[in-house]
Subunit: 278 residues, 2 copies
């Protein structure tokens, strides 16, 4: 699966993921504020940015809030993502084995995503049905971008619980990554040290207030890649007017360049010989 | 919200929850193996058992695995649950604040459930949108029924992580409960000591191998109630023939009586004066 990830990174020489989380009453002027408008909006954002990104990350909550029609929008949104880009289903599912298997079927087979986010709380059993799909990937939630982290920051044997999650996930296979929010650069650095070769999904850049450069430098691997930097509202709601797609493109283009330059800086800093496009 | 729970317990003098997790290729003989067959199956199970249970608990994974049509089945299944019984959406969602808000809208407003299961990993922020709905409830996943629990059983400051979750949840309000699997009676006892007055949802009775009596005695509060004992496959797949509804009714009736007698035994044991119907 992660061959698809690095291939997607090469397509547009980008590690920028764009989140597609449509909220009906925030759709741009002139667009129907119903599920069909949300789909039109997603398609317009994809058309305007698909040469700038590694892929797209719809968060399922925003589709479920539309009602049963939302799952149709989600399926059609996934179908609108170009096949050579990375389609990541941000579902954060977590349940015991036979139930997790049903979630994996829904995300991979029904909807056709390349990868899914999953919750670690149930333990390996809850992630195993995702790991078993060798042609797909999963990203285990490790440290979320909210500042108050009742459990993730708990002391578990001299380490943060989220560090224990990262340590465990490294052992779970080669088609599993981690999710670490952009707002905690220290957490990003700690997780990257624990998991030097694992893809890290980094949400929370932009609207959630995460500083881009520091987050990218902390998140990239030794070759300046393997960090999927995800921006959502800063791109998709760059303008609420008829120019929303052009505005989204301009922001995405700027983010791609910033990510690339921060990643190159990180590689120079650690002394790697050849800066990597990703 | 938990007034609705105790009211529902009085309707049928029962704390038995029945899980509704239809799998298309396990539907009984003669039933269409498509989403409409799953809905017909759920309605038949509800009709056969609605005077024996406190309520019903559909697990969303089984509906999502059917494709987008599954959410229509889920909505119609919820609508088929009698309004005086407890409708619990087993979704185990967990995401940061604004996203969790969307999940709460989907489960409470779109689908109309009385309560939802939620994951604790994100921390209080991920549960707050559910807590804020004073007319609804949430059950925080605490100790799942799988035996290998990488993280839940981790040592967090001299206690199991799941105990820390239970301690935290007690402080979160009066419309929040906990989920503890029936397979670990020691965990049920520990959580009940930490949270003497909190409703506990106890899945894993029956097909998952949890012993009923011991689980009920460990889970009930001092009055013999507040423990929602959930059985799924042992009820819904009691027979694969045309008699599946009668067979489900017979198993549900037996479970209700066993739960009631185990709860009464627990109350006698702890010396409470008046055994409680629930």
């Amino acid at each position: 699966l992660f061959e698809k990830l690095s291939a997607a990174a090469r397509v547009n020489r980008s590690w920028l993921m764009v989140g597609l989380d449509p909220v009906l009453d925030k759709l741009p002027d002139g667009m129907r504020r119903d599920p069909s408008g949300a789909l039109e909006f997603n398609r317009a954002i994809i058309a305007a940015t698909s040469d700038l990104v590694i892929g797209y990350k719809p968060n399922f909550a925003f589709y479920e809030a539309m009602g049963p029609e939302g799952w149709h929008v989600l399926k059609k949104t996934r179908a609108a993502i170009p096949p050579d880009l990375f389609a990541l289903g941000d579902a954060k599912r977590g349940d015991i084995g036979d139930t997790a298997e049903m979630y994996a079927r829904a995300i991979f087979d029904v909807l056709g995503f390349d990868a899914a986010t999953v919750s670690p709380y149930v333990g390996r059993e809850g992630v195993q049905p995702f790991l078993d799909r060798r042609d797909r990937g999963s990203f285990v939630v490790c440290r979320t971008s909210n500042r108050e982290n009742t459990f993730q920051d708990m002391d578990a044997g001299g380490e943060f619980l989220y560090e224990r999650v990262a340590q465990a996930v490294v052992e779970w296979g080669d088609n599993v990554g981690l999710v670490v929010g952009a707002t905690d650069v220290d957490a990003l650095s700690r997780v990257r040290r624990i998991a030097p070769a694992v893809p890290i999904l980094v949400p929370g850049v932009g609207a959630q207030g995460g500083g881009l450069g520091a987050a990218v430098r902390a998140a990239v691997d030794a070759e300046g890649g393997n960090a999927l930097i995800s921006a959502t509202r800063s791109v998709t709601y760059a303008s609420s007017g008829h120019d929303f797609a052009d505005a989204a493109r301009a922001v995405a283009s700027g983010l791609r360049d910033e990510i690339r330059s921060a990643a190159a800086g990180a590689v120079d800093r650690v002394g790697s010989a050849v800066p990597h496009d990703g």
